[in-house]
């Protein structure tokens, strides 16, 4: 109950912070438009060149793009993982450690960008619904698709968080982390057209496939029995949360405050 109250309070703070900068809001709206435009420009250019994507029709690619945006919206909830590494290096972590709330929760809540969460969710959902009007979706698969999307995002973001936590030992890790996770741009592509081993790695090792391609395939009825995928994705999420928790304990046990 207390956590829920805190989440609501941070959401309100994020909204109020947003309202203070009308110019910033306008720019963010334009930014959201760009994300949709990127999808359009990419797939329009590819198809107008006469290039076909094996196993994916145009409306299906639209679903993939929509799921990618909805996945991005959920991943945005863990955006604060990015700043943990900076807080460790510049010593501001000490501020979080003195508060009577779990520091990881505080960092995530403080960095909650309510605009990005909402705008990506709305634009992604709109794309999926447009594709639904073309009759390509299997609505019965909504639940497993959503479950894979959520658990995939949890696995992906906690993995990102784990790499951020290595800053306790390595110091600055932003470059390796950001470059490593820039493979997330693979989200644009349907992972299942890649060679099997690479597709497997991008689904179950770095779970990019779970935050766009796999939920889209389930929603489109391309996966005959989605429940094993749901279970595996859930296990992966639980596993990465456990690793994050273990790393956090380990890091704190050897952490020496800078007195910031």
């Amino acid at each position: 109950m207390r956590l829920l109250r805190l989440v609501l309070r941070y959401t309100r703070l994020s909204t109020e912070d947003l309202i203070q900068f009308p110019f910033g809001v306008a720019m963010k709206v334009v930014d959201t438009g760009f994300r949709v435009l990127f999808l359009y420009a990419f797939w329009y250019s590819v198809t107008s060149f006469g290039i076909a994507i094996p196993g994916w029709s145009q409306p299906e690619v639209l679903v993939l793009g929509g799921m990618g945006l909805v996945g991005g919206s959920i991943c945005q909830l863990g955006f604060g993982f990015r700043d943990i590494a900076y807080a460790v290096v510049d010593g501001t972590l000490d501020v979080y450690l003195t508060r009577p709330v779990h520091p990881l929760f505080t960092v995530l809540a403080e960095k909650l960008g309510i605009f990005w969460v909402t705008s990506q969710f709305v634009s992604g959902l709109a794309l999926v619904l447009i594709a639904a009007r073309m009759g390509n979706l299997q609505l019965v698969n909504c639940v497993p698709s959503l479950l894979v999307l959520v658990t995939g995002c949890v696995a992906y973001q906690t993995m990102y968080g784990c790499l951020s936590l290595t800053s306790f030992w390595q110091g600055r890790v932003s470059s390796i982390r950001d470059t490593f996770f820039s493979v997330a741009s693979a989200r644009t592509y349907p992972i299942d057209v890649l060679p099997k081993s690479l597709g497997f790695a991008l689904t179950w090792v770095i779970p990019i496939g779970l935050v766009a391609t796999m939920p889209a395939r389930i929603l489109l009825g391309k996966v005959l029995n989605p429940w094993p995928v749901v279970s595996l994705s859930g296990l992966l999420a639980v596993g990465w949360v456990a690793v994050l928790s273990w790393l956090w304990e380990k890091a704190l046990s050897g952490y020496e405050s800078t007195g910031t």
């Binding site: 900068f21 930014d31 990127f38 110091g171 600055r172 470059t179 820039s182 690479l198």
Partner: protein, 262 residues
């Protein structure tokens, strides 16, 4: 000039303080390029569509990815300037006998140089020569082009950072300029593959000078040297125009800047 060279050297020392982070930043590239290559190979097969092959696109995106990683310091300048102006730290630099834009440029150029040289030697040179997508003279021309591209990127983002004096929070504006750069500068697809109206808009902006032209020079084996020279001239034009832009914006911004004490 000595003080700018010192700033250049100091930044190199700073990079050496975290060597694991610096060098490991390049490790993800083979995976990223692998994804792009296999996607296009599965779509195009061994065929060629309007001069586009999977191999050529992979070479293009490899060059692009190296430039993106190397030019990152040029993107950070907006954030740095926003912080320095908002917190008043810029005052400390204004009272010193240095030209602030030049000082920041020296620092960022240092980081760019190390990254681009390291990645060209370690990744691009072997990859492109082995696949016969380029040659040593072309790599040298590509290097010159990437230097010019970095100068364009830096100046664009310095101007945005200087706008902090007028706008306050310039970061959302920066994001959209980055979006424009991605769309019109070949970040999404090579500009020549974009719809006609986008190609037309791109021709009147500095965006293709940043990533597209250097990547194109590095990865297109059919490009002749006269065409390369035309592209380099186009980049020089944008460097010159943006230099005027930086000088003017910085001059006006300083007139409106209210020092906070630093």
């Amino acid at each position: 000039m000595d003080k700018y060279l010192t700033a250049f050297r100091l930044k190199l020392s700073d990079l050496r303080a975290f060597p694991a982070d610096f060098y490991s930043g390049f490790l993800a590239m083979p995976l990223q390029i692998g994804v792009v290559y296999f996607f296009w190979r599965s779509s195009l097969g061994a065929s060629e569509v309007e001069g586009v092959t999977a191999g050529r696109l992979a070479a293009y995106f490899l060059s692009l990815q190296i430039l993106r990683v190397s030019m990152l310091p040029g993107l950070v300048v907006t954030w740095d300037l926003w912080q320095d102006i908002s917190r008043g730290n810029v005052t400390v630099w204004l009272v010193r006998p240095i030209h602030y834009p030049m000082y920041v440029f020296s620092q960022k150029l240092s980081e760019f140089q190390v990254k681009v040289v390291a990645s060209v030697v370690a990744i691009l040179l072997p990859a492109l020569v082995l696949t016969r997508y380029t040659s040593l003279p072309r790599i040298l021309l590509g290097y010159v082009s990437s230097l010019l591209g970095f100068a364009v990127l830096f100046q664009m983002h310095f101007i945005i950072g200087a706008l902090t004096v007028f706008v306050g929070n310039v970061l959302p504006l920066r994001e959209n300029v980055i979006n424009f750069t991605t769309l019109l500068g070949g970040g999404l697809l090579p500009v020549s593959m974009l719809p006609g109206f986008l190609q037309m808009i791109a021709a009147y902006t500095p965006m293709p000078s940043i990533y597209y032209i250097p990547s194109y020079i590095l990865s297109d084996p059919k490009l002749d040297y006269s065409a390369v020279l035309v592209l380099l001239k186009e980049q020089c034009l944008w460097v010159g125009l943006l230099f005027l832009g930086v000088t003017l914006t910085w001059k006006i911004a300083l007139k409106h800047y209210n020092p906070q004490g630093g």
